[in-house]
């Protein structure tokens, strides 16, 4: 009897170590993936043919990404580029002269095809409605005001939000952790709602510039929130209970506040006119919610599908999602704390 228990413990320890090793292999790759923020290019026509340029380049691994807008050849910079760090990017400003104007000209973001970043382009020509485009690696060029390439306007923010959460493994793992804890549909509903409300609040606060969170401690805290769910999941498996298991919405709300600051990194409103910020914020947030809902539906539908098909997983595979949440949370927390301490 005692031998059996010991054997089971050994088996479990072995499973756990495999899972941790697997998680650790993936983690650095994943961790760098999410620290890719979109770029932002703004061109404002001051006098006909003269533009003030604002180019916010995101950082990749702490370094300015090698992305640069390419203008028509007749354009030339009339001032040197002034550059300063700004949050999680580098802000560059200069003045540009294009004698025959930018209407109908094509602008390419050089280097974008080699990245997974999007760039929001906003163009304000005199005597015209402002144009907004979202370009990515598959379509790095815009033709200003061209037919067919419709200015996406604020709708681009919807996609940006959707993409931001689905590419953000840390946010998805937190949601997965919550799914593994909730006990019934009602709890699921209020937990997801609490998470949504909380991250919407801080996303708004951060976007409107009322408060901000420095990236390094924030990332560590987000990792901690994922780690926190690990032991709770194990408690659910053992049939135990805890405050978190009885009231997961409280935890979802509290940590949701943190995740909201994280989402804010995906939404750059630098240079947007004040009047457009609320709309961009709303659409970005709706995109995030749609992405989150999509993920929750995907997981629940998959579980249903396994049940219908009567697919029986080995024990270690059943436990994999839970251990993935806990061990990746732990790994990121250690990694990011290390970074925070100056590693």
């Amino acid at each position: 009897m005692a031998g059996q228990v010991a054997a089971r413990h050994r088996a479990r320890a072995r499973t756990l170590s495999i899972v941790i090793a697997l998680g650790a292999l993936l983690a650095p790759v994943v961790a760098t993936a999410h620290e890719l923020d979109p770029g932002f290019l703004e061109l404002r026509e001051t006098t006909p043919g003269e533009y003030s340029v604002l180019w916010k380049v995101p950082l990749k691994a702490g370094r300015r990404m090698s992305l640069d807008p390419v203008f028509p050849t007749e354009c030339s910079a009339t001032t040197p580029v002034s550059s300063r760090p700004s949050g999680r990017g580098v802000m560059e400003r200069w003045r540009l002269e294009c004698p025959s104007g930018l209407a109908g000209a094509s602008i390419t973001i050089g280097g974008l095809e080699r990245t997974y970043t999007d760039v929001m382009i906003r163009i304000e020509l005199t005597e015209a409605e402002p144009l907004t485009y979202l370009v990515g690696s598959t379509n790095p060029t815009v033709v200003v005001g061209a037919e067919g390439q419709a200015s996406q306007g604020a709708l681009g923010y919807l996609w940006l939000g959707f993409e931001h959460i689905l590419l953000g493994i840390d946010h998805l793992l937190f949601v997965l952790g919550l799914l593994l804890i909730v006990q019934n549909p009602w709890t699921l509903l209020n937990t997801v709602t609490a998470f949504t409300v909380a991250h919407s609040i801080t996303l708004a606060i951060a976007t409107l510039g009322w408060a901000s969170a420095p990236a390094a401690p924030l990332n560590a805290a987000i990792a901690l929130s994922i780690l926190f769910l690990g032991p709770e999941i194990v408690r659910v498996w053992r049939g135990e209970t805890s405050f978190t298991i009885r009231h997961p919405w409280v935890v979802a709300f509290a940590f949701g506040l943190l995740h909201g600051f994280g989402f804010a990194s995906g939404l750059s409103t630098v240079g947007l006119p004040q009047a457009e910020i609320p709309l961009a914020l709303l659409l970005f947030n709706l995109g995030v919610e749609a992405g989150q809902l999509f993920f929750v539906l995907l997981i629940l539908a998959l579980e249903r599908a396994f049940r219908v098909l009567e697919i029986h997983w080995p024990r270690w595979a059943e436990m994999f999602p839970g251990y993935a949440v806990g061990s990746l949370g732990a790994f990121w927390f250690i990694q990011r704390t290390w970074m925070l301490l100056g590693g």
């Binding site: 650790a24 292999l25 983690a27 650095p28 790759v29 994943v30 961790a31 760098t32 993936a33 620290e35 890719l36 950082l59 990749k60 691994a61 702490g62 370094r63 300015r64 990404m65 090698s66 760090p85 949050g87 999680r88 580098v90 280097g111 080699r114 990245t115 997974y116 590419l167 493994i169 420095p214 990236a215 390094a216 990332n219 995907l298 539908a301 998959l302 249903r304 599908a305 396994f306 219908v308 098909l309 009567e310 697919i311 990694q335 290390w338 970074m339 925070l340 100056g342 590693g343």
Partner: protein, 217 residues
Amino acid sequence: MRAALRLPVGITRARGEVATSRLAPAAFLTALLVPGRADAHLVNTGFGPFYDGISHLFVTAPDLLVVAALALLAGLRGHATARGTLLAVIIAWGLGGFAGLLTAPAVVWTAITTGSFLLLGALLAADRELPVGVVIGLGALVGLIHGFLNGAESAAAGIGFVGLVGSLAAVAVLATLISAAAVSLAEGSTRVAVRVAGSWIAAIGILMLGWLFRPGA
């Protein structure tokens, strides 16, 4: 690996001036854990090719249609056949994909890929009692063909093995969801919905054949 260690804030610190002495213990800790290729290129996000592989499947309509038709066909034969077919198609897709990745031929077999979903769609619309072995065999066959092309395209797109894994994951998820839906529709009057879907898929294939063999094509 550098990416994993460097602070993503503060441009002054990030200009490549991190003290080597501080880097060393961290490098030692993570060296064992970090796949070497993850940051071979600064612009490479490492996880990006996985997502690219997923999106590649969804912009490759013949692959989507084949997976859908096969999953529905297997689902109509009940959950045991569906399980077997799922396993067969995933393994075959992986093997075929790996072969495609290694050989990376520049081929476009549009007629064959069209034929495969046309055939599966027509079988689905006809709803004849196919032997279980035939369904599983068809799954393995189309898995090999489409996986092979998928692997070749992954190699061509420069997303390589990780991209292939991404598309394989998407195939697995999609096929699981669709065959489960078919299993639960297979009983009673809703079965016809699955047959109609097969008819649509076959119709797309027939139109596509016309498109392929039109004069001047």
